[in-house]
Symmetry: C2
Subunit: 447 residues, 2 copies
């Protein structure tokens, strides 16, 4: 069902007081679509439409709502009504919501949950943001090693409704240490009397709770995993991260890196929903820093004032020379930042990449020199043409090498290479461009 | 096992001629790790190490090798030896490899495959690159609607070894039209005598073969799917795209968009392995185009030569004013490009975003004006300070609005909004900055 049709259907059900019929009418609508439609209604309407669904689906749809909407509801709806939904949510989504609530709201919510859920929630929400612990769920399927395949499938059948996935099960010893993983596919294919510990993979891929979430997403993508088991410092099983959460993490990280390329700080919300204050704060810092960075270019120009006064025609070429230096730098910088982020290249690759970049940038510089030499002849005569062509060659080379090296330098000092954004590289390349241009001009024109 | 240890183990096995023991020694090594280790060996060594594995794993490890390595092997190894591996590969990986081979190599390979595989291969590799058809696999599990749950599980058990996944099964009618989807989880939970068509979801999410692969990845992420069924124009089931392929597509698309933000064309290979010629070709086009774009800035400066000659102090502020305009534009442009790519915003959101951007950019402009007014007083006196502050306010506003609008404009004309890269926006904002600055100066200073 198309979104506008779904919204109209829901609107009609509210108007005619027939929300109790929605359950059958919309049986095959995906919870993600239902949630998308719900965001078009007021909180009170949203609540009526949400509670028209069967209990299990309520929690699923609620989980697909943007966290900002969840928080709005959590504040408005009495905890007695909300608790049954919260209880049915998957444990990672519940911890996410909990972390967005104020201390007071948390205190209101906690007593509505059962002892075990309360402990689970407090444990999960205690992990630092950005780590595996903060995105994992504790709803995973555990199997003892001594079960037969027949018994294991029976266990999974009973537990399935409460588990995030039953396609991977985790085998632990008495001290809850992870000793193996077995897939439902292997269980289905194996003879029913085989023991789980004869079937399982004894050397599973796993991660620790304090690993950064990007690294988790990378592991899941590299090994094509459905879920990655997470262990604590004692190698005890504490949770899993599923592929769908890994996809979300990868998309968020890419967005964050994109924004960094343009000196924008980390936005916790989408651009569409971000407030004016937030957008201002995330953009102003680097803009102001770069103003002061560009003072050096200005000072460079001021230093060469006499040269410029004698040859005002030189000014015509200033924008295109410094822009070319910055553009070439932005290109090589961006290539490095992205390749470092995806793990395509490592710190130790700097040397071989530098060699290659010298040749590529040299060729680019030659091409660009050829492109401007005619322009130099036309606007400034043969002497200026030589100066402009030589400067172009040099600034493209220097800009490219700055762009290539800055991300490695930042990485080397454990700073995020993505900070080497286009605007930062451009500002540095600009200064180099101004100094090179007028130095060459002064020398060659004999001023 | 750590990669260096694995490589050393493989090296030792080659030296002591004990590759036949590797099978037991490395039972729990993940095929992705085995493949990563193999890339450190020569093609002949690689082949010996690959064929030391059981047949089924050979194909899996081969599938994890970079396509460039696969092609190298495909060319060197006789088709009689290679065919058994190719036959066992999943159908989408096989089609990928096939598409990278020369026409001659394809003709050598095809006769080594059985009739059905040959037809499947030719069908899959006929789809246009970048579409769902080009990344889908035909190894999906089909179920007739009239089976019982017990029979369906039995069918899946028999077919599992040849299928990409058995966690989602697809139900088709006699004309092969997709009529439903059922998960293994639902099958396991349902009473064994229930019929598949009573259990299945009758309104499954699906896509068509000609849909762009980014759209496929977005659908899979949005609905948290394990696999997305792909149908042809007659609604007949033709393949599935699995979540792991969607993750790869999302990462590739993000890399491509990253490179576009810095005017780099689409690289078919990683930066590390890309040749000098390829890197040159992908970078030179926009660098040269932007040189000519910057001629307008130069012409603007030349036009105001008299103003500049009278007030050389104005030049000091030129770099920081035009850089600020470009930086503010790169910020708003990048925010829009990424939000359009992730589907966070649509074309129709332009109006409301424009209103918000006017306020945010106004505030940014005011802050930046305040930041430069002291500098203006110090370097140029009160008159120049007024000119610089007023120009800063205006250029930040104008730069931001250009950055915001250009991606929408490109989208509106069905061009890729990512073409509105930082360097392009910067070049346009530069021209605006030069013209605004000297116009204001000439007017205010009464020249």
């Amino acid at each position: 069902m198309e979104l506008p049709v779904l919204i109209a259907t829901l609107r009609a059900a509210l108007t005619h007081n027939t929300t109790h019929l929605l359950r059958d009418q919309l049986e095959d609508v995906h919870p993600a679509d239902y949630a998308a439609a719900l965001t078009e209604f007021t909180p009170t309407e949203l609540w009526d439409l949400l509670t028209a669904l069967p209990r299990a689906e309520q929690a699923e749809v609620f989980g697909y709502l943007p966290t900002s909407e969840q928080v709005k509801l959590a504040i408005r709806i009495s905890r007695r009504k909300l608790a049954p939904i919260i209880r049915q949510m998957s444990s990672d989504e519940r911890a996410d919501l909990f972390n967005r609530l104020s201390a007071e709201q948390r205190d209101t919510l906690l007593p509505a949950l059962a002892q075990a859920e309360r402990e689970d929630l407090l444990r999960l929400s205690a992990h630092e943001e950005g780590t595996a612990g903060a995105i994992m769920t504790s709803d995973y399927a555990l199997l003892p090693p001594n079960l037969t395949v027949r018994e294991a499938i029976e266990v999974l059948r009973l537990e399935a409704p409460d588990k995030e996935t039953i396609y991977s099960s985790y085998v632990v010893d008495q001290s809850r240490k992870l000793i193996g993983v077995v897939s439902l596919r292997d269980l289905i294919l194996a003879p029913v009397s085989m023991r789980v510990d004869d079937l399982m993979n004894h050397d599973p891929i796993y991660a620790t709770v304090d690993m950064p979430q990007e690294a988790i997403a990378t592991l899941i993508a590299k090994y094509d995993l459905l879920a990655l088991p997470i262990v604590n410092a004692q190698q005890q099983m504490v949770g899993i991260v599923t592929y769908d959460d890994a996809m979300d993490v990868a998309a968020e990280e890419a967005t964050e890196d994109f924004h960094k390329t343009a000196t924008i700080g980390k936005l916790e919300s989408s651009v569409k929903h971000a407030g004016i204050g937030l957008l201002y704060r995330k953009r102003v810092f680097w803009l102001v820093v770069l103003v002061f960075g560009n003072i050096f270019s200005g000072a460079g120009i001021a230093y060469f004032e006499e040269t410029i006064a004698s040859y005002l025609a030189l000014l015509f070429f200033l924008p295109l020379l410094i822009a070319s230096s910055g553009n070439a730098g932005a290109q090589s910088g961006t290539l490095m930042v992205r390749a470092l982020a995806t793990g395509d290249i490592k710190l130790r690759d700097w040397g071989s990449l530098l060699g290659k970049e010298c040749i590529v940038a040299g060729l680019l510089g030659l091409t660009m020199s050829a492109a401007v030499i005619g322009l130099g002849l036309w606007r400034g005569g043969p002497d200026i043409a030589v100066v402009v062509a030589a400067t172009m060659m040099l600034v493209v080379l220097v800009g490219s090498l700055i762009g290539l090296s800055l991300p490695f330098l930042l990485s080397r000092f454990n700073l995020d290479p993505a900070t080497a954004s286009g605007p930062l590289i451009t500002s540095i390349a600009d200064v180099a461009g101004v100094l090179l241009y007028f130095s060459i001009a002064r020398w060659y024109l004999g001023l």
